[in-house]
Symmetry: C2
Subunit: 434 residues, 2 copies
C-alpha cells in the first residue's frame, strides 16, 4: 500500500520527537494504519545542529516552502511555534489543499477560526490534539467520545509549569520566587516565565478547548485571566488549613446560554480529584449532561508526550487519505462562526478566600465585615493568626457565594482603609459540589 | 441528508437511556453528524411496561429478528445482555452486513474474537465503547489517541460496585457484609453479587481492554481472578496505617514479550491518583512508551453514561455510512488472532501484604519468618497489634518483591502451622513507582 508522505516544519524538541517516534514504532504504526508513514522533508532554520535522532541530510532543508510545495507531501506538521511565520506557513499549507497538523496553541487561540474555516473550505483537515494538554487524548475525547453530550463545564489544570510551582510551594512551604527559580533551573519554566505564570498559556489552551467543547467561537480577549505571581506561601498554608489546595484553573461553564470563560488561581477542595494532580501533570475535569463527570490526566508537555499526540493526528488524517474518506480531524462541523455569549466576569458568582493584611487594632474586623455586608457578601469563617499590635497581620476570610462585581467593589473599599497595609489577596473557590 | 436508521435490541435501562439521549440531544447530534439519527425499531420481550421515555408503539416489537431483518436499518444496537440470545442476534446482525453496537462485556470477553473476525470479513463495524468503563471514552483513547504508542501497562478500577464497597468500608470502618447489604439496598449491587465481588465482571472488561491495547487476543480463562469477599475491615485499617488504600484492580502489563493479566484486590499507595478514586467511579491508569502516564476517570455504569458511550459509537459508524468511508469502530486492524503470551501467575513478581492470624505465644514470629526466608521472601515490616495470650491475634507483614510461586508455597506452610488459626490474607501491592 502506498506510503503516507509527511513534511515537518520545525526540527526542535517536538519535531525530533515526532521523527523518533515514527522511526521507533514504525512497524507498529504501519500495522495499525495499514501503510507506512514516511518523513519526506524537514525544514528548520538550523539544519546542522545535532539532534537526538539521525536523519538523512537530504531530508533537511532551511526552506519551509520547499516542504510545503513538495507535491508528494500529503500532510504538513507545523512545529515551529510562535505566531507570524507559523501563520504564514499554515496558510500556505491550506492554500495547497494539504492537511495540517499543529501543536501551536498561541497561533490557534488567535487565528484558529480563520484556519478552521479555510480548512473546511479547502476540504482538508487540521489536527491539533497536541495543542492542548500535550499527550492527553483530550480533544479527541471531547469531539468524538462526548459527541452525544452537551458539555456543561470544564475545569482544567492546563499548565504544567504553574502546577509544578504550586505543588512545590505546597509540599515545601517555600516562597513563590524561590520555587520559580528552581523550576527555571530544572527547565520547567522559561527564562521569561510570563506566558506560563501570568496564565496566558492556560488561556490559549482554554480558548481552543472551550471553542471545541461548546461549539461556538470563544474570543481569546473575552477570557478573564489572572496568574499566580501574587500567591504567597501563607495563602497555600491557610488554604490547606481550610481543607483546600490552590491550583491555577482554566474554567469554562455553560449557564443559561452564556459561557463563563476564565483562568485564575483558585481554592479547590482537597478531596476533589483535581487537588491530587501534582507536579508538571495536567488534568481536565469535564461534566457532560449524559456522561456526568469525567477526568483526563497526563503529561501536558514534553518531547515524547507531545509527539504521541502529533502522531495520533497524522494517523487519523492518514486513515482518511488512504481510503479517500472525508475530513475528520478538522474543525468540528458543529463549530459555528458565531461568537459564544461570554458572561462578563463582574456577574460571575463564586465563593471567595480573602487575605487582608491589616494593622492589628480593635475595630478592624468590624470595618471589613461592614464593607462586605454592605455589598451583599456574607462571611463563612474568619481566621486571624498571630497578634502583633500596631503591625500588619493577615485576616483570612471565606465567604458564601457572592457576585464578582460586589467583591470588586468591596476590595476597592477594603484596600482604601487606612488600617490595610497592602493589596488584599482574593481567590475564588471552585469544584465544590452539591 | 438521509437519516441514519438505528434498531435497538433490548429496551431496558440502557436502551431507554439511548432513546432518551437521541431524543433530547437530537438537534445537537444532527448538527454534529450532519444527518438525523432515527430509532426505527426497538425489540424487547416486554413491550408494554412503562419506561421513562415515550415511544410510538408501532416502533416496538417483541421480535428481535424483525429489527435485524428490517432492510432500512443500518446499525443494530444490542443491549439485551447475557450471552446466548445476544450471541445469536449479533451473529444475525453481522451476517446481514449490518453494523453492530454493543455494551455486552460478558459476550465480547468470550466471543469477541469470533465477532471481530466476522465483522472484518463482512466489512462492517462493531462499536463497543460502552462495554468497558461505561461513559469514559477509554477504548477510543487507547485505539486512536495512543495509536503511536506501545502500551506498557494498564491498571484499572473497572467495577463500580466493588469500588463503592471498598470506599464505604474505608470511610466508615464497617465490615464487608454490612456494606454489601447496603449496596444491594441502594441498587449498586445485584441480589446475586458474585459477578461483581468475585472479580468476574472486572475480568470481562480487562479481557476486552487488554486485547485492544496490546493487540493480541487475551483468553478470558488465562486472566488470574480474585475477588474482594475476604477483605476485612481490619485489612483496610492496617493498609491505611501503612499508607495504602485497598482497591480491586485489573492489571495488564507487557514484560519482555509476555503479558501479565490479573484481577485482584491490591494495596495502592495513598498518593497514587487511583487511590483517590472513590465511590462507584471507575478509572484506568495507562502507561504508554511515548505518552507516559495517563489516567481516565468517570462513571463506569449507569443509564445515561452508558447511553453516552453507545451514542458515540452510533455516531462514529454513522459518519462512515454517510460518506461511504471504511469501517472504523471495528476490531482494530492490529488485533491478531494469535493469543497473547500470558505470564503464569506463579512467576509474577510483587510486594505483598500478609495478615496472619496466630496464637499469641513466643516463637510464632520466628516460625513464620523462617518459612518466608526459606522461600526467598524478605520482610520489610511487621506489626503485631493487641496482646491476648493463647488466643489468635493478627500479625501484619509487608514483604519486599517476591515471586508468587514462592509466596504460595509459604502460605501453604504458614497455614499448616498449628499456631495459625485461619487462612492467611495475602494481598499484592501495586502502583509503587521508582
Amino acid at each position: 500500500m502506498k506510503a503516507v508522505q509527511v513534511g515537518i516544519l520545525g526540527f526542535g524538541t517536538v519535531g525530533s520527537g515526532v521523527v523518533k517516534l515514527i522511526r521507533e514504532n514504525g512497524a507498529l504504526l504501519e500495522r495499525r494504519l495499514g501503510a507506512p508513514i514516511m518523513i519526506r522533508r524537514i525544514a528548520d532554520i538550523d539544519v546542522t545542529r545535532a539532534r537526538n535522532v539521525d536523519v538523512d541530510p537530504a531530508v533537511l532543508t532551511t526552506d519551509a516552502m520547499a516542504v510545503i510545495e513538495d507535491p508528494a507531501i500529503d500532510i504538513v506538521v507545523e512545529l515551529i511555534g510562535g505566531r507570524d511565520a507559523a501563520l504564514r506557513f499554515c496558510r500556505e499549507v491550506l492554500a495547497r489543499k494539504k492537511h495540517l497538523v499543529t501543536a501551536n496553541k498561541a497561533l490557534l487561540s488567535t487565528h484558529g477560526l480563520e484556519l478552521y474555516q479555510t480548512a473546511a473550505r479547502q476540504r482538508v483537515s487540521i489536527g491539533f490534539e497536541a495543542s492542548v494538554c500535550g499527550g492527553i487524548p483530550l480533544l479527541r475525547a471531547v469531539k468524538e467520545g462526548l459527541v452525544g453530550d452537551r458539555v456543561r463545564s470544564i475545569i482544567g489544570i492546563l499548565n504544567g509549569t504553574c502546577n509544578y510551582i504550586l505543588t512545590k510551594m505546597t509540599e515545601s512551604q517555600r516562597p513563590f520566587a524561590e520555587v520559580l527559580s528552581e523550576a527555571q533551573a530544572k527547565g520547567y519554566a522559561e527564562a521569561n516565565p510570563s506566558l506560563d505564570i501570568d496564565g496566558i498559556d492556560t488561556a490559549h489552551k482554554l480558548q481552543i478547548l472551550a471553542t471545541l467543547a461548546f461549539g461556538a467561537y470563544v474570543p481569546l480577549d473575552r477570557i478573564h485571566v489572572e496568574g499566580i505571581r501574587r500567591i504567597d506561601a501563607s495563602d497555600i498554608e491557610y488554604a490547606r488549613d481550610l481543607g483546600y489546595r490552590i491550583k491555577l484553573l482554566a474554567i469554562a461553564k455553560q449557564l443559561n446560554g452564556e459561557l463563563e470563560a476564565r483562568v485564575h488561581p483558585a481554592l479547590i477542595p482537597e478531596d476533589h480529584l483535581l487537588a491530587s494532580v501534582g507536579g508538571v501533570y495536567n488534568a481536565v475535569y469535564v461534566v457532560g449532561d449524559a456522561v456526568g463527570s469525567l477526568m483526563f490526566y497526563g503529561r501536558g508537555a514534553g518531547q515524547m508526550p507531545t509527539a504521541s499526540a502529533v502522531v495520533s493526528d497524522i494517523v487519523e488524517i492518514a486513515r482518511g487519505l488512504l481510503h479517500d474518506a472525508p475530513v475528520r480531524a478538522t474543525p468540528p462541523p458543529q463549530l459555528s462562526e458565531q461568537e459564544a455569549e461570554i458572561r462578563d466576569i463582574t456577574v460571575v458568582r463564586s465563593c471567595y478566600y480573602l487575605r487582608i493584611m491589616a494593622i492589628d487594632k480593635p475595630g478592624v474586623l468590624s470595618k471589613v465585615a461592614g464593607i462586605l455586608g454592605n455589598n451583599n457578601i456574607s462571611i463563612v469563617s474568619v481566621i486571624q493568626k498571630g497578634r502583633q499590635e500596631q503591625s500588619a497581620v493577615p485576616i483570612v476570610m471565606m465567604t458564601h457565594e457572592a457576585i464578582e462585581g460586589d467583591m470588586q467593589r468591596s476590595l476597592k473599599a477594603i484596600d482604601h482603609l487606612d488600617v490595610v497595609s497592602q493589596e488584599t489577596i482574593c481567590l475564588r473557590v471552585e469544584g465544590v459540589t452539591g
